[in-house]
Amino acid sequence: MTDNPAIELTGIDKKFGPVHANKNINLTVAKGSIHGIIGENGAGKSTLMSILYGFYQADSGEIRINGKPVAIKDSQTAISSGIGMVHQHFMLVENFTVIENIMLGAEGGALLAKGVASARAELKRLEQDYGLEVDPDAVIEELPVGLQQRVEILKAMYRGAEILILDEPTGVLTPAEADHLFKILRVLRDQGKTVILITHKLREIMAITDTVSVMRRGEMVATRKTAETSVEELAELMVGRRVLLRVEKGEAHPGAVILSVKNLTVKDNRGVIMVDNVSFDVRAGEIVGIAGVAGNGQSELLEAIAGIRQPVSGEILIDGQPIGKASPARLRELGLAHIPEDRHHMGLVLKFEEYENSVLGYHRDPKYGRGMMLDLEAIRRDAQEKIEKYDIRPPNPRLKTANFSGGNQQKIVVAREIERDPRILLIGQPTRGVDIGAIEFIHKRIIDMRDQGKALLLVSVELDEIRALSDRILVMFAGHVVGEKTADAGEQTLGLMMAGIAA
């Protein structure tokens, strides 16, 4: 197994309009290894793998598989070159059986009957060789997520994949399911297959890979032997040597409890429990930070408190009063404001002009028009004031929101929510995709809010941000709050808790 590497990428470059997703990427993946590719959201990992799988075409660069240059013009070529991919969002037909999904595109003839028999035999063999057990006649939508993922792996193996790419495979898995997946991946490697694992979770990289490559802002910044690196080094490589965010803030003076969450359980759209019996309080004049790896229930928690998602059980209290099934509109009246995690789909209507977004959710306020009418003059004046106060550029309330940069879009949301002078502020990923200047500005506003005696709940996957802003830190893992720490808790302690390893 010392001959050619399984994959060699040289000079891969890809642009999506103005976005330079992959910049001159070089990567070598050894045969029979598990190779991790790590990086933050938007670092270009998925794009790179989509190019390898023929979903996109690279603008330039070369791909070699087993030493031979290959032009991968579509997924069909990738498959016949022995590449299989397990997508982050499963590419399964939900009302099909396992065997139908596995055969799709590899039916072995115009009629299904013959193919079905050989597919069953092949599934049996894969099951024995790799421990990939699954009932071939089960319908996908009735299977748990972990098994659905196994079907994806089987699909690739059935097509004779020698190289298996997994894109964020554990995002939807419980820790037990993830462990089982890792076991399978090790078996695959030991049988000589090559596995590429894309993730932003450091724990996984350390736990399972042989080699790890780090991507940052479209570039491949380093490749290390996993045994010779550390979580700290990888984390630094991932985020770059950016100026450590130090936020000037004084002592917190927490007051009465404003927001309490009691035994809250919330399901996501698929019916999976994402928040499991969570309780905590937020007091006036403090920032409670929720740390955790993305997908551990933080989003659903925020949405439940904001009234967007109905909890399954438990209650949410404001000033000791249960809010029941209050709508987001009613909660705003109660003084709850919400900077949502996803400004593109929730916080803003991108096709609206800026001023229209400056009142989203508050448009029923008499300040913005009496009775049924909207007072556009008042709204535009108001928007103009916020634009000046928050230095939103370009300073034009009539511009389409989609035409603002990420940082300025976020400022539109922040301005709208903070300028309402709420008593409770929910903040989700306040600085995702935001430039440094705007980050400092937004952080300063958040601290100001605290010092004015507001109750703030902050969710962020940026541990630095949580540590810099929070007065208390709750760590969420797999739907549970696994522990509470003070703001001076070490990064390593928190990191271990976020990985579900120690409390």
């Binding site: 642009k15 999506f16 309009g17 904001a306 009234g307 967007i308 709508s327 987001p328 509109a329 009613r330 909660l331 705003r332 919400h338 949502p340 996803d342 789909h345 929730m346 916080g347 803003l348 209507v349 991108l350 096709k351 609206f352 229209e356 989203l360 959710g361 448009h363 029923r364 028009g369 049924m372 009418m373 909207l374 556009l376």
Partner: protein, 367 residues
């Protein structure tokens, strides 16, 4: 790189592209005319003269346009909230019932200007009612509103035929229609409006509903861009997740939108029922509900655009009718063909030219 996300200036989006699409629709219509052995340019000339040449032609053109303004507005209001109401046809049909019941009840007692407001309410209420069930099914049961509104077109048609044949028919008469309304149940002709321009209306049924249609245009414009409800509808239409975030109630907004949409469609009935034939007849809608889809699409769901598109279709209707007198080889149904082609090219194939135009635009912008 894909061309779909490249922004183009307004004059291209709202001017050049629709113009190209329309031109193509007319070129193909011309080919059909040529195919059946007539001169397309001659036909176009006759069509335009028929529609716009005399006061009477203009009166008919505006009469037809009035129908399309109402149905176009009906479709547009729903689209702003992300709902595709293809039930305007049935809602208009039922609206006729509302208008006729009011006219039959009041024409003996009240002058037209007192009957009219009640009839407007009656027509709108019946149209809205016919939209309510599909709206409710969409809001609370998740039934696809496109499918339910199609179904309701047919259910409405069956209901109306039943009522006209068995209930509303004049005893002893064969024709399935109501009695003729007295003057108190008729909308007056707008001959004075044409007289201002020195034209004679003649026999054209151009009537007061045109004014109501224009008022509705202003009202819809106001609703969509100046009211809180309109703001909520637009938010829901563009981004349902942002609407949920903003606390805009889904079910309520869907239902109110559809009531308004159905109400506008219902009001269309005023024009033929109280403005022209002075009685309720079977199939008086005659496809105007479907034309409303094209009108709304072409008018980019904006009242001003809808008026322009409705005028275009009005010209086609009237001019096409005249054309069939002068060129007996071309039947009135040619209008339906042209309508279909316009719907195809301006609607379903809306973006056919876009990629090419984007490339052209980019090469010009660079140069």
């Amino acid at each position: 790189m894909s061309t779909a996300s490249v922004p183009l200036p307004n004059w291209i989006n709202y001017g050049l592209i629709p113009l190209l699409n329309l031109t193509l629709a007319f070129v193909i219509s011309g080919l059909v005319v040529w195919l059946i052995g007539e001169n397309p340019f001659e036909a176009l000339k006759l069509l335009l003269i028929g529609a716009l040449g005399r006061g009477e032609g203009i009166g008919f053109t505006l009469f037809f346009a009035t129908n399309f303004i109402f149905t176009g507005l009906s479709v547009a209001v729903a689209i702003h909230a992300g709902l595709f109401n293809i039930g305007s046809e049935g809602q208009a049909y039922l609206g006729g019932l509302g208008a006729a019941l009011v006219a039959l009840a009041l024409d003996n007692y009240l002058p037209w200007y007192l009957t009219m407001p009640v009839a407007v309410i009656g027509a709108a209420a019946f149209g809205a009612l016919w939209a309510l069930i599909p709206a409710w099914l969409q809001a609370y049961r998740g039934s696809h509103i496109v499918i339910t509104t199609i179904m309701f077109n047919f259910i409405g048609a069956a209901l109306m035929v039943y009522l006209l044949v068995n209930v509303l028919i004049v005893p002893g008469k064969m024709a399935p229609e109501t009695r003729t309304f007295l003057e108190g149940g008729q909308l007056p002709k707008l001959d004075w409006l044409l007289a201002i321009f020195g034209m004679k209306l003649g026999a054209a049924p151009f009537n007061f509903s045109f004014i109501i249609a224009l008022v509705m245009c202003v009202a819809v414009w106001f609703l969509i861009w100046r009211t809180k409800l309109g703001y909520e509808m637009r938010t829901l239409g563009i981004s349902p997740s942002a609407a949920a975030y903003a606390g805009i109630p889904y079910a309520r907004t869907v239902i109110i939108t559809m009531l308004i949409s159905g109400g506008l469609a219902g009001m269309m009935a005023l024009n033929p029922v109280m403005g022209a034939s002075a009685r309720l007849q079977v199939e008086f809608v005659g496809g105007a509900g479907f034309v409303g889809i094209a009108v709304s699409l072409m008018g980019r769901n904006h009242p001003l655009g809808i008026v322009l598109a409705a005028l275009l279709f009005g010209i086609l209707y009237q001019g096409g009718g005249e054309l069939s007198f002068d060129m007996p080889n071309i039947t009135r149904d040619m209008i339906v063909v042209i309508q279909g082609l316009v719907i195809l090219f301006a609607g379903a194939l809306e973006y056919m030219f876009r990629p090419a135009i984007v490339r052209l635009y980019q090469s010009f912008a660079k140069a």
